[in-house]
């Protein structure tokens, strides 16, 4: 027996599904389309009210992107958490998933508003560029609008139907909705990604940029998939860090023990999500970079050499901050159980390796030298630090950093448990052997192939390094889960018993992540240099020049402050919505 309302729901889902697959069925090359690139001069760019058009579009785009990333990422892990809840039948997961999606639903309307702001500012400040792009992408932009409807409908049903669709078949329908929501959201992102990667690596047009109807070619351009992958992973990490900040905010302003315990647990899970997604992110980044080189050596060198080389030093500082903050949060979290005392001595070794790896990662290829140092060294090259400036050293360092962050995780998991299985010693030995072998392999690959063979192998060696890291993490986690099956509790895990310092680590994580995303958004766009569409559509506005890193950092900082202010508003509004007050004598009594 299916109730009427469920029937109606199923129809809605069917419509959404059809909306989502529609683009695929009619994606056929349109005949006779001809979109040409106009030649522009600086007077073709409107100047409105003295606003710096580049900064205006830059901020609008970045703010939209932050919110969009958040809004797309949250349903991904909400779906996963909800599934875990269904699997374990632990209601806490269901409640947490609902709280996450509640935060994102307010952010959703802000995303749409900012998207509108971005579109308007683009059309106002760069009308010719937008005429060209809408000419090329007319169909996909139309489907984008349609999909946005589908996304809204699914999200609202998913959120508002949460408590209605509980238990049995209804829960399964709700889970399917979650899946559908993610599918539509991802599709939306893929479409928008196609537009921007088209600007980086145009495809489906001739050398003069004339578009003759090869829509799929324009969408499926060279950097589309690398960006897609990188963005999905980064979005999840970013989304996790923002909800982590939400939990930290609630934790710090909580009044009762129960509330503290709840938000501590929520913050822990958010941090777990952020770090799990952060670990593969460097690899997605390397893949993207390799593809950029493959697309154009010039773009690659612009990215990694020259002026932008220093941007990666800033990036290294930020990622180092992320890793240290995430590990620090885990170490602080060990205080939740008395059983963790056994593991405190190991913290300093982990910290040592992470900091040392970070220092290697941070060492720039071109050193900033005073004249005296230059004279003492006899040149800009440093015999011992120079080799740390290139890729093999950095690959090795980042792999070690990731491995030791995984060690932090394993130790944290063990902090309040005592294994009871018979093969404890063997299991531990196996894990230690695994880590030692993995580290040795990473070091050998990095040092031997990095410095004693040819460039081809240098690049190639990074792949086995990554595989080693992933294999070690996966296998050791599997061994660990068997090893601690049915383990005794040494001391209870007391959620809520963490110092406030650890919550600031969560804020640091969110701020650093946001700032980092802004910075990388700048370079992604910046490597096009003075082109609207690389090598095809030249930017002739007065803002065609590439700004200095300091300038970019300031714009990003302003953006982060605005974003944080808006996020605080979102947190606040989601808090207000659950408050109810009943003023005495206000309403007339019946």
């Amino acid at each position: 027996m299916i109730s009427t309302s469920i029937k109606q729901l199923l129809i809605v889902m069917l419509v959404v599904f059809l909306l989502a697959v529609l683009p695929f069925s009619v994606a056929e090359a349109a005949e006779g389309v001809q979109v040409t690139v106009p030649e522009l001069s600086s007077s073709d760019y409107p100047v409105i009210a003295g606003v710096n058009s580049r900064v205006a579009v830059w901020l609008a785009a970045q703010l939209h992107l932050w919110f969009a990333a958040f809004v797309l990422a949250v349903p991904i892990f909400v779906f996963i958490i909800e599934s875990i809840g269904v699997w374990t039948r632990d209601q806490r997961y269901d409640e947490m998933a609902f709280e996450f999606i509640k935060v994102s639903i307010t952010a959703y309307s802000l995303t749409a508003i900012l998207g509108g702001l971005l579109a308007f500012s683009l059309f106002i400040f760069y009308p010719q560029l937008m005429t060209y792009l809408t000419g090329v992408f007319s169909e996909s932009m139309f489907y984008y609008a349609l999909l946005f409807f589908a996304e809204s409908v699914t999200l609202y049903v998913y959120y508002y139907g949460w408590h209605w669709l509980q238990g049995g078949d209804k829960k399964w329908i709700h889970l399917t909705l979650g899946l559908l929501l993610n599918a539509v959201g991802t599709l939306l992102m893929l479409l928008a990604n196609a537009w921007l990667t088209f600007m980086m690596s145009p495809n489906g047009v001739d050398t003069a940029g004339t578009f003759t109807g090869d829509t799929w070619g324009a969408i499926h351009n060279f950097l589309w998939n690398p960006i897609n992958l990188h963005r999905v992973v980064a979005n999840v990490a970013f989304g996790g860090s923002v909800v982590g900040a939400y939990a930290a905010f609630k934790f710090l302003s909580a009044s009762g023990e129960d509330e503290r315990a709840h938000y501590d647990w929520m913050g822990y899970n958010a941090n777990f999500i952020a770090i799990t997604a952060l670990l593969p992110l460097p690899f997605a980044g390397y893949y993207l970079t390799a593809e950029i080189y493959e697309y154009s050596q010039q773009m690659g060198i612009t990215l990694m050499g020259g002026v932008f080389a220093w941007l990666f030093i800033i990036q290294a500082v930020l990622i180092g901050t992320l890793f240290i903050a995430a590990n620090y949060y885990l170490w602080c979290g060990m205080g939740r159980s008395e059983g963790a005392h056994r593991y405190y001595p190991y913290i300093k070794y982990i910290a040592f390796v992470i900091v040392a790896s970070f220092l290697v990662w941070f060492t720039p290829h071109t050193l900033v030298l005073t004249n005296e140092e230059l004279k003492a060294l006899g040149g800009p090259y440093h015999k011992y630090l120079g080799p740390l400036g290139i890729m093999p050293a950095k690959n090795t360092a980042v792999n070690l950093m990731i491995l030791f962050t995984a060690v932090s995780f394993l130790i944290y998991r063990r902090s309040n448990k005592l294994p009871t299985v018979s093969w404890v010693q063997t299991g531990n030995a196996l894990q230690i052997a695994l880590f030692v072998a993995g580290i040795a392999n990473i070091l050998i690959l990095g040092i031997y192939y990095g410095y004693f063979t040819n460039t081809v192998y240098k690049v190639a060696a990074s792949i086995p390094q990554v595989l080693t890291t992933l294999v070690v993490i996966v296998i050791s986690t599997v061994i660990d889960s068997f090893l601690y099956k049915g383990a005794e509790e040494v001391a209870p895990l007391r959620w809520g018993r963490v110092p406030d310092r650890s919550q600031y680590a969560l804020f640091l994580l969110a701020v650093a992540f946001t700032w980092l995303m802004g910075l990388m958004g700048y370079i992604r766009s910046g490597i096009r240099q003075h082109w609207h569409v690389t090598d095809v559509f030249r930017d002739n506005s007065v803002d065609a020049f590439t700004p200095t890193l300091g300038y970019a950092a300031n714009v990003v900082s302003i953006g982060v402050v605005i974003f944080m202010a808006m996020v605080v508003f979102v947190f606040w509004i989601s808090q207000v919505s659950s408050k109810k007050s009943y003023p005495e004598g206000y309403w007339k009594t019946a």
Binding site: I314, F507, A512, Q529, H530, V561
Partner: protein, 278 residues
């Protein structure tokens, strides 16, 4: 509320640390500005670059140096305009309507016969008609902005104060090739082949000196019926090495560059065309 302020303060501190490091901790290298482009954007130009644009056009597209050069007496040198213009404006032989230096130079380019410097007139016109073509005409085709750029260059190079304003009219965006297209046949050349001999004549600007097709140049020999007196062999030589055999009454001044600017098949096309002019 205190919690909120603490968190806000902490976040702002972190952001400002990142910003400070990016501004002070790493070198602020100014990336190179975008490379200059062939089609010139006038509104973002200062006077110096406008003058150098004029120089470029003077030497290339304008083909001015073909005649206004130190080699021969086909056209006056222009490096002393500052001294002579005011005298010319008062001269009885001046037929134009200009009242100042700028107008005079523009006029001299658009209506060259308004004033003909003694000894530089068309043969047989008693210095009443100038052999110089109108710079707006087909083979040269300068726009108003380009003409003004040349005026700026001429004023500057002859020691005058530049008194023109950079035109703001966007329609007049000047297009300047980086140099005269020199085809050495290497991988550097990318232009499409010329389709006909008439096109070659128009593009290379033969008509600036010669009478050929619709052009009325009066510096070099009349080529309208050249096929009657010269065979293909001689014509080819006259293009590749113009000074090997000078027609009587003319001086050696045709530049030997045209062979380099043409593909072999284009050269043959041109030779064939000229040989057929009977």
């Amino acid at each position: 509320m205190t919690q909120f302020l603490k968190i806000a303060g902490f976040s702002l501190l972190v952001i400002s640390l990142f910003a400070t490091y990016s501004n002070l901790g790493i070198p602020q290298i100014k990336p190179a500005p975008p490379p200059s482009q062939e089609s010139v954007d006038l509104s973002s130009m200062d006077m110096d670059s406008f003058i150098s644009l004029g120089e470029k056009i003077y030497n290339t597209k304008g083909t001015c140096t073909l005649c206004h050069n130190e080699l021969g007496g086909r056209a006056p040198m222009l490096d002393n305009l500052g001294e002579v213009v005011s005298a010319r404006l008062e001269d009885a032989g001046y037929k134009g309507s200009a009242a100042n230096v700028v107008d005079y130079i523009v006029e001299s380019m658009n209506e060259p016969s308004a004033y003909v410097v003694k000894g530089f007139g068309k043969v047989g016109t008693n210095d009443q008609e100038s052999p110089m073509p109108d710079v707006r005409s087909g083979s040269i085709g300068l726009s108003e902005a380009e003409t003004l750029a040349i005026v700026a260059f001429l004023q500057d190079s002859s020691g005058l104060d530049v008194s023109i304003e950079i035109p703001s009219n966007v329609e007049e965006v000047a297009e300047v090739p980086e140099e005269v297209p020199v085809s050495t046949g290497g991988q550097g050349s990318q232009r499409a082949k010329y389709a006909s001999a008439e096109e070659i004549v128009a593009i290379l600007g033969c008509g600036a000196c010669h009478k050929i097709a619709e052009f009325e140049g009066a510096i070099g020999p009349d080529l309208r019926l050249i096929g009657q007196s010269r065979d293909a062999e001689h014509l080819r030589q006259s293009i590749l090495d113009p000074n090997a055999d000078i027609t009587e009454g003319f001086v050696a001044m045709m530049p030997p560059i045209y062979g380099d600017q043409l593909f072999a098949s284009e050269l043959e096309m041109l030779v064939e065309y000229m040989a057929s002019l009977k």
